[in-house]
Symmetry: C2
Subunit: 277 residues, 2 copies
């Protein structure tokens, strides 16, 4: 399966989440059956990220969005970890600080954009400014409705500067979210993660769906496409994210840089004694 | 073996590298025999870093220094990767930029110090300012000789603010370095890593030894100790670094934060229907 093609939000398409099955899991019947494909994808990512780092011609930015418990942290843990931590940076965007609030909404985002040779991962992102801000009315409509265009212009400029942008919307069903909250309640090691706010947000589910649909419809572009990753099955979520990252890295035609020295000269000059011995 | 105790540079001790065997490999006879111990150490790091991240009471800073090819990247890859990339940040310090040069030598370092709940890894660090700078005379002696005290004061203040500092000097022999350079020559995928400068630095080996010894002697403190990691055997280097990190995390007595909500109330309010069903 070509995961990129299957899961992309086609630019210009009016997306409805109701048309997508969050329990979709492709051609693999189970986690177990998907393991070899996942292992191969992760090994490919490891290999190609090393080249991206060496070549310093491309940057990769992976944006993760999804409702609470959708698996943003899980993707960091199971997919991003395949990359060398040197050259990979995960930035979590929480409620803006006083300094961040004193700037435009893209200011803190821009600061965290990966440079050439680097991979950046955003756990939440500038899209919160058209999600939580919209749903909770933290800014007036005339402010947030301009942000879709601003985001597109920003992402276009990044892509022109060599940043390849992948945006993953991790999509779980409302029932699956409740199930995951319940599992936290049943696991003392994760009790600290539970907050009343998670449940309060849940009550706004339909408003979030509208905000997600607007974001996916208005901001999936040729230069920075959105992918909707069906995430009820964690293993499929990891597989799909890995495969799309791999397919993207493959498309970059990465290769190791040429040597900058005359290898024979180096050999003769510094390793001669050893070779004779 | 208590790796921390065995490999620490005791504060106040005058360290001579000639007294240390870079081929030392402890009680394990081989990589294969060390595998279970390494696996256990990495699993422990994974578990405890999650708690460090959750608790947000401690920060951990791991400083990596060592001559070229000593294995700084290898430690990032094989040890640091055991940690969740979210909450772990590797910073490589290269030749300072124009902006960095316009500031004091600790400015760019301070900016990369991990916050509470975070792990920071420095691949090279402020110690370059008493290493390469000293060996190449990039600053006059009266400038760099003051830096040892400045570094100690800086690190003391960080430790008082909750940052636990581990400094690893990866120690390989001069022969082992040449062997590793040779392996790069024999591996086309790594040809791009070869530079004449690496060999030129090699000619300054004895000067570097002096600078390393001064650094290890003057800047191993109770609050920010140096460890000399014998690194001719990559597997022992990884094992020793893992064990010292693990022993340090264990010493923090980390635990998951207390729940901030009344769990029974949450259960009754939001999960009742499900439980009755």
């Amino acid at each position: 399966m070509d995961y990129s093609e299957r899961l992309i939000v086609k630019p210009g398409e009016k997306l409805r989440l109701a048309d997508i099955d969050p329990g979709f899991h492709g051609h693999n019947e189970s986690h177990e059956k998907a393991m070899p494909e996942l292992g191969e994808a992760l090994a490919g990512i490891t290999r190609l990220q090393e080249l991206l780092y060496a070549q310093k011609k491309h940057a990769l930015l992976v944006v993760l969005q999804g409702i609470d418990a959708a698996g943003k942290d899980g993707v960091c843990w199971h997919v991003i970890q395949a990359m060398n931590p040197q050259g990979t940076r995960v930035t979590g965007f929480k409620q803006p600080t006083a300094e961040e609030r004193a700037h435009d909404f893209l200011w803190r985002i821009h600061n965290a954009v990966p440079g050439l040779g680097q991979v950046g991962v955003f756990n939440r992102s500038h899209y919160e400014d058209v999600l939580v801000v919209r749903v909770h009315g933290l800014a007036p409509k005339k402010v947030w409705e301009k942000r879709y265009d601003a985001i597109n212009a920003f992402e276009r400029q990044l892509s022109e500067a060599g940043v390849t942008i992948l945006k993953f919307f991790l999509y779980i069903s409302k029932e699956e979210q409740l199930e995951r909250f319940k599992k936290r309640l049943d696991d003392p090691a994760r009790h600290w993660k539970i907050s009343e706010a998670d449940y309060a947000e849940r009550a706004l589910w339909d408003d979030y769906v509208k905000a997600y649909e607007a974001m996916l419809t208005k901001c999936s572009t040729d230069y920075a496409p959105w992918y909707v990753i069906p995430s009820n099955h964690k293993w499929f979520r990891n597989l799909a994210a890995s495969r799309i990252i791999l397919e993207t890295l493959e498309g970059m035609k990465l290769k190791a840089p040429e040597p900058t020295v005359d290898l024979d000269e180096i050999r003769a000059k510094y390793h001669k004694a050893e070779e004779e011995g």
